[in-house]
Amino acid sequence: MKTLLISLAIALASLSALAQGVKVGDKAPDFNLKNVDGKMVALSDYKDAKGAVVIFTCNHCPYAQAYEQRIIDLHKTYAAKGYPVIAINPNDPSVQPQDSYELMQQRAKEKGYPFAYLFDEGQLVYPKYGATKTPHVYLLQKRGADFMVEYIGTIDDNYKDESAVKEKYLANAIDALIAGKKLALTETKAIGCTIKVKK
């Protein structure tokens, strides 16, 4: 009985650790998810990268849409410098039909996404990261074979007007990593759409 209680307690503790997700300084969990081109993509596939910009995003969310072009531009700037964008749709399409795999494929094609747009089928990856909304950014830097979390948050300080942006939080963080500098800001917050989960 006592062992059962202890193992229950351990199981509960690990569950709550899962629910909290990763923090800055933690190792980023690997994943293996289906891309819009039908192929499976794992974080560990990015062998030559210096890091990665993992963004939980989706089709339907107005904030994700407001940032869509900026995400494309970030990839165009930083993939060549070793920091490709990896977009992941964490939503359950039975709750949010606009975020189905087929509509992800359509959106990626229409907008010419130059980055991987992966479907978190079964919703197993976003809880490991602790993502709560879309868009939600995790900037990773590779050390040895591991990807380490360096920055969590938002892209910049103005979702509705790119021309009025004063602080490019994410771009500044990537530039600092490339320059080998310490990040001035490791966490930021923004409004986003709740990740859609079946009740």
Binding site: T188, K189, A190
Partner: protein
């Protein structure tokens, strides 16, 4: 006939210029504020229990929760309970989405639009617990304050308000 056509074109042009995303002037039924304009609503020191809900018309769980908040606002109109709905739609949709939505859903609770893109500053001021998803709700009375990053049913709202 020709004169009539020109007249109609003029009317159409004037009508178009009036509705092209311009903010209405004068006193607004739904005021548009930045965070400093919202702050007083979050810090009233009296005996009323304030339920401050952050929502948007495009947010499905928010829209599902809204009738419960509206019902609470009506049912407790005599009790010291006040519901404030803080809308987070993009301001360009003030006329085309927000106002028609409020009319369609017969919302009588107080609504204000928060237009402040510097979310990284104000989210933490509302609650350091807030990750940034909506719906989110602050319930406070004087110095007592609780934050919730979730949607409520009517029964849950009643329970919280009764026990607050």
């Amino acid at each position: 006939m020709k004169r009539f056509v020109i007249y109609m074109l003029l009317v159409a042009a004037v009508a178009a210029s009036c509705t092209r995303g311009e903010r209405p002037t004068g006193e607004l039924a739904v005021p548009i504020v930045d965070y400093s304009g919202l702050e007083p609503y979050l810090n009233k020191s009296n005996d009323t229990t304030y339920i401050v809900n952050f929502w948007a018309t495009w947010c499905t769980p928010c829209v599902e929760e809204l009738p419960h908040l509206e019902k609470l606002s009506r049912e407790y109109s005599n009790g010291p309970v006040k519901v404030l709905l803080v809308n987070l739609d993009f301001p360009k949709y003030y006329d085309s989405r927000l106002l028609p939505f409020l009319k369609e859903h017969d919302i009588t609770a107080q609504v204000i639009m928060l237009d402040d893109p510097d979310t990284n500053t104000w989210i933490n001021k509302i609650s350091p617990e807030w990750q940034g998803s909506i719906p989110a709700t602050v319930i406070y009375r004087g110095p007592k304050r609780q934050f919730f990053e979730r949607a409520f049913t009517y029964e849950e709202l009643v329970e919280i308000v009764e026990e607050f």
